[in-house]
Structures are given as structure tokens and as C-alpha cells.
Amino acid sequence: MTPLLEVRKASKIYGGGLFKRHDKTIAIDNLSYSIPDEKPSITAIAGESGSGKTTLALLMMGFLTPSTGQVFYRGRDVATMLSAERRQFRREVQPIFQDPYEAFNPFYRVDHVLETPLKRFGLTHSKDEARRQIEEALERVGLRPNETLGRFPHQLSGGQQQRIGVARALLCQPRIIVADEPVSMVDASLRATILASLQVLNRDLGISIIYITHDLTTAYQICENIVVLYLGNVAEVGTVDRVIRTPRHPYTQLLVSSIPVADRRRRWGEDSPVEAEATSTLVGGSVGCPFAPRCPSVMDICRESPPPLFVPDAHRAAACFLYRDAPVLPTADVASIWEKEAA
């Protein structure tokens, strides 16, 4: 069956213009990923700054065109879609942005932001119906319509604004929501409500969620699956229970061990021998594993060729030669690691 959304062998290369021919940055390196049509999923794409996670999100939403490879929606190449198809794609794949304080026009009441998609996509027939749809969407994300409508963005808290953003996406009747760090600007006590509303959309309305984040703890709490990116490459992929609770890739292990836990019995260990930051971005022509320069378990082979995704146990794959005795993921599509479970 055709996947709902498919990223096929996509790369995105920035820079390398006329005067900086050798100054290329590979943000996404030959990545394949798909979201199935039949079973709604909730997947985290995790990584540090510079890992390419936002680039991948922009590729999925068609806001960027891949340098090589393609993105398909319902089997049609997004880059060459006709206008009617493109409209459907735009409606069915909805973004939620990082900073709610900057996502709204301060001169319009929040009603405007909610009415526009209904009108734009012709999803409503009358004013009353629009009003009912808006109220329903607000209630779904835990807001009270009479306390929200008619207000300006600055009269609402960041958490409320972000939930308006979720309600707006919801009004488009989407199949996929791509949320790029939706709670990083919001206080801890309000984070939970926003993340819970994403879970509700997934569970009750069958919307697939792509949750882009650097925060593995929230990813673990709300997602089923996770893709860990490192310099544009997939380091590890699988169910969150496998990848976060028992990470296999040295990079994922480093990430998980660096999470500050609110528990004194689990203190951070001593300084890890690993360099804290990637000293370079991935440039064209590099060979070997992108994590090799920082990896505590690096071997000679790691500097010679990039590791494929090995499958050391069920529902998880790690791009690391430590697991070279395990079978290699048979397909390029990294989502196949958890799709087997559904089949």
C-alpha cells in the first residue's frame, strides 16, 4: 500500500554557492522515511542543534525541496504537484511552530487565525457552522471558547497560544501534524497540557504526529517511535522503549546519560570522555561514521565507510559497527523497523 507520506533517499545540502563551492553543509544525508496510511503513528525526530531535524520537518511539509531524492504525498511527488493536489497536501499536512509568541499576528484577534483555514480550504458552509467547528476544536485542546475567542494573542499565555496553534491545525482536518519543538518556549507546568492534546489528536482523531524535539524525556512520554539524527544521518531508530530505555548507539547513550533527572540518586556521572559538541558539520566528501570523531568506542572500520543500519534486536536499528554481526535493515526506509510490528 502506498504510504501517506514518503521521504525517499532525500538529501538537503546548504551552501556551496558560486563563491563558496567547497563550503557545503549536508543537513540531511540520503534519508528514507515513510508514514503509513492505515495506522496513525506518533513519532519523535530527535537530535541536537545542527542534527537536521528541522530541515527534515521542512522537507516533509514541502517548505523545502530536497537537493536529491524526493518527497511523496499519497504517491505524488510534492515538488511537481498540480495546484489541486497541492491544496490537499497543504491542508492535510499541518505545522505547529516552535514559538507561539511569534506565530500570531498581534493585530488580529485569535478568531481570525481560526477562521482563515476554514474559509481558505472551504471547510465550512455558514458562519454558525464555522463557529461550531471552532468551538469544538478549542475544546479538544482543552480551551474554553468563551474565554479564548475575541481575545488578542497578547492576552493569552504562551501555553494557551500554543494550544490555539494546535486547534488551528486541527480545523484543517489534517492527516499529519508536524510539530517542531512545540513546548520548548512554554513553562513546565503548561507543557504537559499541550503534549497531552497532541496525544488526544493521535488517539481520537487518527492524526499521525511528527514530534521534532531535542528533549528525549517528552519524546519518551508521548511517542511510540523515535528517529535519532546526528549530523543529518540516522544514528538510531526504533520504538521509544528500546531506543531511550536501552540505547545502543554511543551517541544515543551519550544523549540519554546527559539528561538531568530530578532525582538525586541518579546523579550525572563524571565528565564523559566524549567531546560535548560536534566540532564540524558534515561536509561533502567525508567518509566513515559521522560520530567517529567523538565516539568513545571508535574502531578503524568507522573511519573507512559509513555504517549501515544494523538490527541488533527487534524494533530497533543502530547505525554503528559495534553491531556489525547483526543483520542489516533490509530496506532504506527507516520506518520499516516498526511497521513490521503493525503488519
Binding site: G159, A188, Q221, L254
Partner: protein, 351 residues
Amino acid sequence: MSPDREVLRVEDLRVEYVTPDGPIKAVEGVSFSLQAGQRMGLIGESGSGKTTLGTAIVRLLRPPARITSGRIVLDGHEFLQVGERELRQLRMREVALIPQAAMNSLNPVMRIGDQIADGIIAHAQSAKIPRRDVAERVARALWQVGLQSYLASRYPHQLSGGQRQRAAMAIATALQPKIIVADEPTSALDVVVQRQVMQTLGRLQQGLHAAVLLIGHDMGLVAQFADTIGVLYAGRLVEQGPVEDLLDAPRHPYTRLLIDSLPTLDAKKALRGIPGLPPSLLNLPPGCPFAPRCPYAFDRCRVETPALQPVTTLQKAACHLYPAHTSLPPLPERADIPEVVAPAADAEVAV
């Protein structure tokens, strides 16, 4: 130097922001003290007054903010009484601030070493210190934060984010202060770098035997670093105690709900936040500022503001449940607590 010598005492400190609509009471009667070598975390959400408090302690508040009453005693000096000249000498030497987003506060057109030397030269006792001495002290300041001395000749853009953050820490601590106020020193850094920067701050603190006030909103981060935690809500200290006690048995309902709202890696659980919103600090109604969101609130909470009182020997809480109770009772069934919508023009108190 005795380990429990008090280096900072804050007494009933009040800070207001003057606005056309009236004063916003950003810090309201906060008292605490810090001993040499002690690490205290100050946790609160945006608008809780934590940055205002930190800035007040180094006397760097700018109008419309003003300290209206209270005392700050810095290693024996009445810090609110000293004149501008003495103030400039005490700052950096006694107390240093690592500001929020410090890595972006570096001067982009000045070498790192020169930026560190600036503070050293400005605070020199004699009119002129030999250039070699300055260079040596710059190198030591960099070494204290785990940076190599060759970075002194680099410009900020040549450093990584974590290095820039540590360079900013080197500038703040070049004069080996007794108290370091660190305001969210790792916001905007990746988790691995964050851990490295916090470990650097820890080593720096131990080397100087300084007291650290770590301001933050991330309970996990503060718990990893600090010995004691103060919880700030609506400009008031609502709970204070050793990290272990406070995490294991929080006494203030706000602290309890804040801890419950943290996602963990242990078990998947239903995510729940704290209903409602922090109150506007303009015309705060009488009573406990947390009462409208508090599942335990009873009549007295809405009329009388609770004072911070000892609950155990080491833990204090500002809540009317005490002294009638010794610990926080089990959470009542959460009735539908109305979502409070922020009144107009409240937005966020400038921090």
C-alpha cells in the same frame, strides 16, 4: 575560611516595577541566606521574579525596577547602603552575575582575552598592573572554566556555543568572587553541552569555595547541581529545603504539582500540568497567590497570605496546611479547576 560562614543574607527583599497601571510587585518579601561553598537553586516559571531577584542581589536592576525595602548583606557589607564607587568594587570581587544568554553577551569585535582583562584592569587596586600579570590572570580565569589559554586570542564567533558560555563565565569570575549568581546558564545549549557547562560551574565553585545561586526553570538541572532549592511563585519564596527532601516530600502544593508535571524516563504516565495560570502581579488579591490553582485551597487561603514557616528542621513552606499537618496530604480528587485567562495587559512581567 570556615565552611559555614555566611556570605550572603537577603532579608525581606521587595522589588517593584513601576508601571502606569501601578506597581508590579515582582519580588515580595524574600529572605534567605547562603554559606560559603553552598549551592542553592532558585526555581520558578516565567514571571515568577527569579531573574529580578538575581539581578537585585548584584544591584544591577534598572528602572522601572526598584528595590523598595529589605536588606542584602554581602560578606558583612550592607550592600544596599554602599555608594556607587564601592558598589563597583564589590561587584565582581564579592559577587558576580553570569547573566541569562551570557554567550550572546560577548562583544563580537573584541578578543576573548581582552574582554576578561577589562574587568581585571578596572578592578585593579593599583593604578597600573603589569601586562604580564594581566595575561597570567586571564589565563587562570580561562583555566578555571576548563578552556585553554590560546582561546584568549580568539573572537567569540570562532568559539562553539559551549565555549562561548564558558568564556562568559570566565569574565564573570575572573576576580574570584565569593558569590556567583548564575541565571539560566545553560538555556539554549544542547543537553550534552549543558551537562559539561554545569560540571564546569561546579568545579569553578569548588575551586573558589564560592556560594552559587543557580536560577532556573528546569527542576532536573537544578536538582543535579544544587544542595538546596528555593521555589519562587509570584515573587514569593513558597518552599525551601534540601534537594532530596524537597523532591521526595514536597510540602507546598505548588512544588508537588510542579514535580508531578515533569515527564520522566521511568514510566509512561498520563501527562498533567498545573491548571490555571500564574496570577498577574499587578493588584494581586489578598490571600495566597497560588490559591486559585491550588487543589487544597480552603477559605483561609483566600484571605490571608501564608508566611514561610518551618515544616521540618530543614524544610520551610508558605502554606496554611501547616502547622496543622506535618506533610502534604494526598492530592484531593482534582475537581475541574477553571482555566484562568490572563487579564488584559498582564502578559508577562518583564524579566
